[in-house]
């Protein structure tokens, strides 16, 4: 038996009686003392780490078991539309996107504007900005696109840099507006689980790693995430743009070892649309 209802019904409206039943269940009781002690010890270790990072708790990189697969799948067009829009946000005007028959997205990134000097480091991009940047991963189950632009962001101007080029349509471009790809200009789509050229770029170079980082930033699963491996204030870092279904975009700059357990935020969150 189904009880008709709609959003105009107050939440107290409950012909099933389940609300009253749930509300009558006894409280679980206080947090057990051993758990209190455990958490207090963990917090004390965190506090020591703030004073002396060498004394802090070990922060391991994301393990495969950390990967969370959202239950809500995204449509391919939604991902393409959002990715295209965010690529525009990131000022990567030369990017071309193409939906592939097998469900992948290929792209070629030729920087059309903005700074393109890349700080040298051990995690240097595989391709120079002048040669075009790479789409490292896309995963519509996870709702993630990872690219490596090699751009230089400044944390103080991050929102300005991101806002520049934003379509301001608040919903992302319509999928039909996504630029078409040049068949000869497809970038690499790396394997999700590391290895290969992306391994040196850290955990964020994979879709799973990027989603785990987004989880660490409390980005809802339903949001699409685009990560740009770049530099921020001259250091290898990443810019993460989360786009909600409403079109609202939130931006962070994070270290490249961002994980769910430790997001290592450099700047943000900044709401840019």
């Amino acid at each position: 038996m189904s009880h008709p209802h709609d959003e105009t019904d107050p939440v107290e409206h409950d012909p099933t009686g389940m609300r009253a039943l749930l509300g009558s269940l006894p409280e679980p009781g206080p947090m057990p003392a051993d758990l209190v002690a455990r958490i207090e010890a963990a917090l004390a270790a965190e506090a020591r780490a703030l004073q002396d990072p060498a004394a802090g708790p070990e922060r391991r990189p994301a393990a495969p078991d950390d990967v969370v697969v959202p239950l809500r799948r995204r449509s391919r067009w939604q991902l393409v539309a959002v990715a295209a829009s965010v690529l525009a946000v990131l000022g990567l005007g030369g990017v071309v996107l193409q939906t592939m028959g097998d469900g992948g997205v290929t792209a070629s990134l030729g920087l059309a504007g903005g700074s393109s000097d890349s700080a040298g480091s051990g995690a240097a991009p595989q391709t120079s900005p002048e040669d075009g940047s790479a789409l490292l991963a896309d995963d519509d189950d996870l709702g993630v696109v990872v690219l490596e632009s090699g751009r230089s962001y400044a944390s103080a101007d991050l929102s300005i840099q991101v806002v520049r080029g934003l379509p301001w349509d608040r919903t992302g471009r319509d999928a039909t507006d996504a630029p078409t790809a040049s068949p000869t200009a497809k970038a690499q789509v790396e394997a999700q689980d590391g290895g290969g050229p992306t391994a040196s770029l850290g955990v964020l170079a994979t879709a799973a790693g990027a989603r785990a980082c987004a989880e660490g930033l409390d980005v809802p699963d339903a949001d699409t995430v685009v990560v740009d491996l770049a530099t921020v204030d001259g250091m290898p870092a990443a810019v993460l743009v989360a786009t909600a279904e409403s079109g609202r975009r939130t931006v962070w700059a994070v270290q490249r070892d961002c994980t769910r357990a430790a997001a290592h935020v450099l700047t943000g969150p900044l709401v840019v649309g």
């Binding site: 009880h3 609300r19 206080p30 958490i39 969370v68 697969v69 239950l71 769910r260």
Partner: protein, 200 residues
């Protein structure tokens, strides 16, 4: 002789936002006070969301550590308790999803590990049955019911915690209640035959 000193008194019982600001500013005691204030509530939410003591313990620990580390990300747009709830619920859902994957791998539906230490009264059996049914709901419906119906959280606040629209919270509550009622109906037969439909 000097005039009377005008001191701005420190509030004896600073509010949560003040404590969080002090923590960000380096006050070593501030976060501990926040933990003491909210640990029982957060544990209850975690326990009711996960239905498993170990998962709840791990999730609530992860959540408090996450809050400790990322306190500077709190912007004051919502109450500190709302922010904490959100972190706790997200940690619980993460744990549940990982658990679901491992349970699937094991080919086992897993066992509910529900609290009963405080249920020493006539309604114990009912409570356990209801909690078992609750644990079988899709996570979106279960989370909404835990916050709104079990903890009395306003829909607007639950929407912030869950990161969805208020209308979504309400519809999840409505659908979750109907699914619960169907599972608890005596004529429903085995619970396996009445698995709730829909994931939201």
């Amino acid at each position: 002789m000097t005039g009377p000193r005008v001191n701005v008194p420190e509030p004896a019982d600073p509010d949560d936002a003040t404590l969080l600001a002090r923590h960000v500013a380096g006050d070593a005691e501030a976060f501990g006070e926040l933990f003491r204030r909210h640990r029982d509530r957060m544990y209850a939410v975690a326990l009711r969301t996960t239905g498993q003591r170990e998962l709840a313990a791990d999730a609530v620990q992860e959540a408090f550590i996450s809050a400790f580390r990322r306190a500077d990300a709190y912007r004051g747009d919502a109450a500190v308790t709302t922010w904490l709830h959100r972190i706790v619920v997200n940690a619980c859902l993460d744990r549940l999803r990982r658990e679901k994957v491992s349970v699937r791998r094991a080919g086992d539906l897993g066992e509910l590990d529900l609290p009963d230490r405080h249920d020493h009264h006539a309604s114990t059996e009912t409570a356990l049955v209801v909690r078992e049914a609750l644990a079988r709901l899709p996570e979106g419906q279960r989370s909404a019911l835990v916050l709104v119906d079990m903890h009395g959280m306003p829909v607007a606040e639950a929407a912030v915690v869950l990161g969805v629209a208020e209308g979504t919270v309400k519809s999840r509550c409505f659908r979750g209640r109907e699914a619960l009622a169907a599972m608890l109906r005596p004529s429903a037969g085995s619970s396996d035959a009445t698995e709730p439909q829909g994931a939201t």
